[in-house]
């Protein structure tokens, strides 16, 4: 009969009237974010970065600016470049994640936040200091090693640089560990990828491995 479907429609709306709303009240409630979420505040590990500027070259918008100079400390040990400028103009960033995809050394990660703002576009240029100090909650986007360790950045567990690399690149970790920094074992429940004990903190600059690793990384990223 005419009008029956309209009555049915009224019933549908009435049924939904009684349902729990599917929207959430944003600042208090949040929808669940997924570990691969490509968010703001890039996570950058200076210890891993070689200054190769692959990210800058691969950025479709060209918003990453990198200036390096040859390092004086230990050029023979592989510490070839020192980063002077690492600016990301995040106000123009579209979070496509291609810079992360291009990084051969697992030094750059997408962040997991989305709530940053500034009064001017200039204020949204992230410089190297901000990148250094930023909270290290890397997204698992394009980082299968983090995903297989079922790391969830939304749980607020910061990751140290030694924990985020692919296993095949432990040379990097070993070498850098000996050279510049002591990896912090401060957080015992920190998730670590691969075997954490092996080669950590060992001062053993191994020059041959660098080249070998270089070829590996070239293959890995293709």
């Amino acid at each position: 009969m005419y009008g029956l479907a309209m009555a049915k429609g009224m019933l549908v709306t009435l049924k939904n009237f009684a349902k729990k709303p599917f929207t959430v009240q944003y600042p208090e409630e949040r929808v669940k974010q997924h570990p691969r979420f490509r968010g703001e505040e890039f996570v950058w590990y200076e210890e891993r970065c070689t200054g190769c500027a692959s990210c800058a070259k691969f950025c479709p918008l060209g918003i990453i600016k990198i200036v390096t100079s040859p390092s004086e400390t230990a050029p023979l040990q592989g510490d070839k470049y020192r980063l002077e400028v690492f600016d990301i103009d995040i106000s123009r960033c579209m979070f496509c994640g291609l810079c992360v995809e291009a990084c051969p050394y697992d030094a750059l990660f997408m962040g997991s936040g989305f709530e940053q703002s500034a009064y001017s576009r200039k204020g949204r240029v992230i410089d190297i200091d901000q990148l250094r100090q930023a909270e290290k909650l890397p997204s698992t986007y394009f980082r299968p090693q983090l995903e297989s360790a079922s790391y969830k950045p939304q749980e607020g567990q910061p990751l140290d640089w030694v924990d985020v690399g692919r296993e095949s690149w432990r040379w990097h970790e070993r070498e850098k560990a000996g050279m510049r920094l002591q990896p912090s074992d401060a957080s015992p429940e920190a998730i670590s990828i691969g075997s954490p004990d092996e080669g950590r903190g060992v001062v053993e600059p191994v020059n041959e491995e660098i080249e070998e690793a270089g070829t590996v990384s070239a293959e890995e990223t293709t």
Binding site: M1, M6, M10
Partner: protein, 407 residues
């Protein structure tokens, strides 16, 4: 000098007026007491409309939110109750624009002309026993006369804005308002006939059986007609957000816009109040002399909920379909109702011309049958024009050669 309103005075029946008059009478001269009492109930009335509109705005937004399966405004105040105040502050602080080539005087007059009928209509509605602000003996006629002012206001808005969208909206609005007056008047005739009175208090008193049951067809036509007159979906062609952006009030901003919104929302409330009075028995209910206002409020809320519910569910009709609905569907229905009611009243009434409660029950039985049959009949008559003929899903795709055959 007696300090009480004389028994024969026309204003004596109005409880609120009488109370105020009796209160000020000992201190003031009689003519001033009349004036003060009049002003007092005017202030009550205006504030009632404003407050009612504010609450209804909040309620409608919350309800619509729930119908949409979302939350609705809940930030400002408990449950978002202060939201209308926030809206009002926003609207009051906005720049009040007048288009360069607008007819300034008419443009300025529109909000006033729009708000006026809404407030005036409420004056005759009894909120509780003896609490109508003016107990007119031609209440129904008065309501119909006053509400038709809105069409003038809509056309003034459309014409003076010097905007083609506004003009479109105004022409549509006037066409709709004038068309829907007819079925609404005819279905109210039935109510008046059964009640034997045109005064709203009289109609309430006559409802020993709610007219919802006695006049179901009239209620249906009245609800459809009023929601068309109030520009609410599915009949909101004059505003038609997706077509005309805002229709006749597209150029209004700031305070004027706030007034127009008040008029529209107040109009809905008024319509609810009138419907509750005419069809749901107004303030009558258990312990009506004390709790009349409560029953009245509950009935208004129920009708308002139905208005919002309908608004949340249906798409808009096109203007020609809307006209067709008025003239080809609602008008015949109200005629049928009128005919049935006339015959029933003619045969059932006593020699004094009074209908007893039993008569009303008999009438409600007959009218329910009449309503269902006539709506079903019309449904079947229209069905062929809108029946969905189901398109088919072919088992596989047509071979590319088919393209050659077709083109």
């Amino acid at each position: 000098m007696s300090c009480h309103l004389a028994e024969g005075n026309i204003l004596h029946d109005t409880l609120m007026y009488r109370v105020v008059y009796d209160f000020v009478c000992p201190v003031l001269p009689a003519w001033l007491s009349y004036l003060v009492a009049g002003l007092a109930i005017m202030i009550i009335l205006v504030n009632m409309v404003l407050l009612g509109a504010a609450v209804f705005v909040w309620a409608e937004r919350r309800l619509l939110g729930r119908f949409h399966n979302r939350i609705g405004p809940n930030r400002w105040g408990p449950f978002g109750l202060l939201q209308p105040i926030a809206d009002l502050i926003k609207l009051l602080t906005k720049e009040d624009l007048t288009p360069a080539n607008a007819d300034r005087i008419t443009f300025f007059a529109v909000p006033i002309v729009m708000v006026m009928p809404v407030i005036l209509v409420l004056a005759v509605v009894p909120f509780a026993k003896d609490t109508a602000l003016a107990n007119l003996n031609v209440g129904v006629l008065y309501i119909l006369a006053v509400t038709s002012l809105t069409s003038v206001a809509i056309f003034m808005a459309g014409w003076s804005s010097n905007n083609r969208y506004a003009m479109f909206g105004a022409i549509r609005g006037v066409a709709v308002l004038i068309s829907y007056e007819v079925p609404v008047v005819l279905c109210l005739l039935g109510v008046v006939m059964v009640a034997g009175s045109m005064s709203l208090s009289g109609i309430v008193a006559a409802q020993t059986v709610p007219f919802l049951l006695v006049q179901p067809l009239a209620l249906f036509v009245f609800l459809a007609g009023t929601s068309a007159e109030l520009n609410r979906t599915p009949f909101d062609v004059a505003e038609a957000e997706s077509e005309l952006v805002a229709g006749f009030h597209i150029e209004y901003s700031g305070v004027k816009f706030a007034l127009i919104q008040t008029a529209e929302i107040g109009g809905v409330l008024t319509a609810c109040a009138v419907t509750a009075t005419l069809f749901l028995g107004g303030w009558s209910g258990p312990a009506a002399s004390y709790l009349g206002w409560l029953w009245f409020g509950i009935k208004v809320a129920i009708i308002a909920f139905i208005f919002v519910w309908v608004r949340a569910t249906f798409p808009r009709l096109r203007i020609d379909q809307l006209m067709a609905l008025a003239w080809k569907f609602l008008l015949p229905l109200s005629m049928i109702n009128l005919l049935a009611t006339t015959l029933e009243v003619y045969f059932l009434r006593s020699d004094q011309g009074v209908l007893s409660t039993n008569d009303l029950w008999i009438m409600s039985g007959i009218n329910l049958v009449v309503a269902v049959t006539s709506i079903a009949l019309f449904g079947i008559l229209i069905r062929d024009k809108v029946r969905p003929s189901k398109p088919t899903i072919p088992a596989g795709a047509v071979a590319p050669a088919a393209l050659g055959e077709v083109s």
